[in-house]
């Protein structure tokens, strides 16, 4: 079977995000970009399925600007077999991505799509669920363990207050949580090999998807800075501050 994995190019996890002066979005110029960490986990899981003999081919997909090819190359260097780049400049929303992925699923016929549970830039946590709905497939979200059992998947999910184990029929959409695995590094020999792996290109329109945005962003602002704490000398002063300054009692 084939496994399809979308990989998103986002601001590097270790970079301090800054809001643009005109408050229309965050600063992307001269900022280090990397693969969304949850997508690294997805790629790793797909490669492990291949190594375990469950999958024959891993396809990495990225939707976005030209430099998304670098993100795909990283996926190929980790061990994905080929890439698909859906070229689009400008903002793109989860629903559009889900529609694009649906078209690619129809073209490629994978049995599993492994999606990061969220992208660390917009934290939408929507694409996997929307894709499952569009396809009419089962889904296992926030998975921290995956086992293939015949024509179904036993998945452990991270839910509030504990773990939940469910079984979903294939084909299915999985969304990955942090504890699923520890992604491997891209080794020099694999980076060299990855250069020879093919990357196909499409535009959303070629796939029959209208990429325009439905959400208008009015304003992006920094969270309020925390004020420094003050030391109080006794309980009386503390109560007074809580009542009159903080107004919480």
């Amino acid at each position: 079977m084939k496994v399809l994995v979308p990989v998103k190019r986002v601001i590097d996890y270790n970079v301090k995000v800054r809001v643009k002066a005109d408050q229309t979005g965050v600063e992307l110029a001269n900022v280090k970009m990397s693969m969304n960490p949850f997508d690294e986990i997805s790629i790793e899981e797909a490669i492990r399925l291949k190594e375990a003999g469950h999958a024959e081919e891993v396809i990495a997909v990225s939707v976005g600007v030209q430099q998304c090819q670098e993100t795909i190359r990283t996926a190929l260097a980790m061990g994905a077999d080929r890439g698909i780049h859906v070229v689009h400049d400008g903002d793109i929303e989860p629903l559009v991505v889900a529609k694009i992925l649906k078209e690619l699923v129809d073209k490629e016929g994978p049995s599993i799509v492994i999606v990061g549970k969220q992208a660390i830039d917009d934290d939408s946590n929507q694409t996997g669920q929307m894709l499952a709905a569009l396809l009419g497939w089962g889904q296992a979200t926030f998975v921290s363990k995956v086992e293939i059992e015949g024509d179904s998947i036993k998945a452990t999910r991270e839910v509030d207050g504990g773990l939940e184990t469910i079984s979903v029929m294939l084909p299915a959409v999985l969304t990955t949580d942090l504890r699923l695995n520890e992604p491997r590094y891209a080794s020099l020999p694999n980076i060299m090999k990855a250069k020879k792996k093919p990357i196909e290109q499409f535009t959303p329109v070629e796939l029959g998807v209208d990429p325009s945005c439905r959400i208008e962003i009015l304003k992006v602002a920094e969270p309020p800075t925390r004020e420094a704490g003050v030391k109080v000398s006794d309980v009386g002063e503390l109560v007074d501050k809580l009542r009159n300054t903080a107004k919480v009692i």
């Binding site: 001269n30 990397s34 960490p37």
Partner: protein, 488 residues
């Protein structure tokens, strides 16, 4: 390592003179109750060094708030011949930052002198006080789109005053030099309390003896550094990092040469890491991962740096250097950081070398430098010399090989008795330091002399040089109140 037993009888072997007692009282009233601590429990963290090897005594730990106050305290101490121990983050590796046992002293700790006095973006300088924590300075520079390159594993706690007083090295010496090379001007309080103000932000200034260089690297034995003008650089944007397994130490040195030449001299990091270091880090430090699939004997953390964002040309050269290294058998395997997170993960393997070694047990440390070209032969010869003393010793070698500096440390045998190992301390030191001498090296590349190597130094430094050092010391600090018992 256990804190040496200091018994009560030993602690009482010294007495303060009447003048010294008065000095303590005068200083207390000068700095006020917030400016000092004197209870044993409160002073404790200032009295024991980072490694837990040295423990001393003090009457007071003072936290001066400005240069004027430092000067006033020193005047009082000078009059009473009261020893002063300057202290920054107390991360000294050679017992330099804690007082001696059995002697009166005052510790001056700079944690409250932490202002950035001036940030001159276009002059690429900042003027800072001695108590600024190194990491804060790096951050300040970075926030203003500048770069302060001094970097070492203790950067979260060490202070710039301590860095300058020890002429700290760290991981960026190859490209930017030691702490000394990063200073344009210095403000110093002399042992008689006078203030030597030399905070000029000039790159050219040939007006007589270079006085600041006397204090840089003097480990608090000549005066107190209260502020400095530091050099800044354009901020690196494209950083390309690889964690390489190399086939031998000489392969590593060959790789360094190629990387410098073929990158357009953009090598910023070249750290050597031995397998045992990796094993200890993976064993003792949580969340660390071996970047490569197989085990190898020697690794190099290599970084090329460009001040241009997305420097594709440099990245291509980086790949070509690595590919070439692999084809020619210098590199056996390598992982390339695909994100800043992965790059930091490489660094945490290197930066936790010292910490994990501490967690593993006793170790005998050597902070040596030899010419870069001599590293492979030195490595082999020194290792043989150690094995002759202790056949089961384990070598923890790592360090800034790009500038010729190695931390050539020896860990106790896995199942041996710690005491038997410690008994060999002197013999192992001699084995390593004699080899260093043969190769024209230094027995203290970056950590300094402090208490640890004071006697050792007399065997390796030429008599003429030691004599001149003594003359300078007597001229500047005739009563020997500045950090006594250290360096000379």
């Amino acid at each position: 390592m256990a804190i040496p037993n200091v018994n009560a009888a030993e602690l009482q072997t010294y007495k303060l003179t009447t003048a010294q007692k008065d000095a303590v009282d005068q200083i207390k009233s000068l700095v006020g109750p917030r400016g000092y601590v004197s209870k044993t429990e409160e002073m404790e963290p200032h009295l024991v060094d980072w490694r837990g090897v040295y423990k001393g005594n003090a009457e007071l730990v003072c936290y001066p708030i400005n240069t004027r106050e430092v000067s006033d305290i020193v005047k009082i101490c000078s009059a009473a011949v009261m020893p002063i121990v300057p202290q920054g983050g107390n991360t000294s590796m050679c017992g330099g930052s804690v007082p001696l046992k059995n002697s009166a002293s005052i510790i001056l700790n700079f944690s409250r002198m932490n202002q950035i006095r001036c940030f001159d973006k276009n002059n690429y300088t900042m003027t800072v006080e001695a108590g600024c924590v190194l990491q804060k300075l790096q951050q300040t520079a970075s926030d203003a789109d500048r770069y302060f390159p001094l970097s070492l594993a203790a950067e979260g706690s060490c202070m710039i005053g301590g860095n300058l007083a020890t002429n700290a090295g760290g991981t960026n010496v190859l490209r930017y030099g030691n702490a000394r090379e990063l200073v344009l001007g210095l403000e110093v309080v002399l042992p008689d309390g006078q203030i030597l103000s030399g905070l000029n932000a000039l790159r050219k200034d040939n007006t007589g003896y270079d006085l600041k260089n006397l204090f840089l690297g003097s480990e608090g034995t000549l005066g107190i550094i209260t502020a400095a003008v530091l050099k800044l650089f354009p901020k690196p944007r494209g950083i390309y990092a690889a964690y390489c397994a190399v086939s031998s130490i000489s392969a590593a040195i060959e790789l360094l040469d190629r990387a410098r030449k073929e990158s357009g001299d953009c090598v910023e990091t070249f750290e050597l890491i031995s397998r045992l270091v990796m094993d200890l880090v993976l064993k003792h430090i949580p969340n660390c991962q071996d970047p490569l699939e197989e085990r190898y004997d020697h690794y190099v953390l290599l970084e090329l740096v460009s001040t241009a964002e997305n420097d594709q040309e440099l990245y291509n050269r980086f790949e070509r250097i690595l590919e070439g290294g692999m084809e020619d058998g210098l590199i056996l395997d390598a992982a390339l950081a695909q994100s800043e997170v992965q790059r930091q993960a490489f660094w945490s393997l290197r930066e936790n070398a010292t910490e994990s070694q501490k967690l593993e047990g006793a170790s005998i440390k050597h902070d040596i430098a030899v010419p870069v070209s001599a590293i492979p032969s030195f490595y082999e010869a020194a290792w043989q010399a150690i094995l002759e003393v202790e056949p089961k010793a384990r070598l923890i070698a790592f360090g800034h090989a790009g500038d010729g500096n190695l931390h050539f440390n020896v860990a106790e045998p896995a199942n041996g008795k710690t005491q038997d190992f410690i008994d060999n301390w002197g013999r192992i030191n001699t084995a390593v330091h004699r080899t260093v001498q043969i190769f024209g090296g230094s027995i203290s590349a970056e950590h300094g002399i402090g208490q640890l190597k004071r006697d050792e130094l007399t065997h390796y430094k030429p008599a003429v040089a030691l004599d001149l050092m003594q003359k300078i010391k007597s001229a500047i600090d005739p009563n020997s109140i500045m950090n006594p018992g250290k360096v000379i």
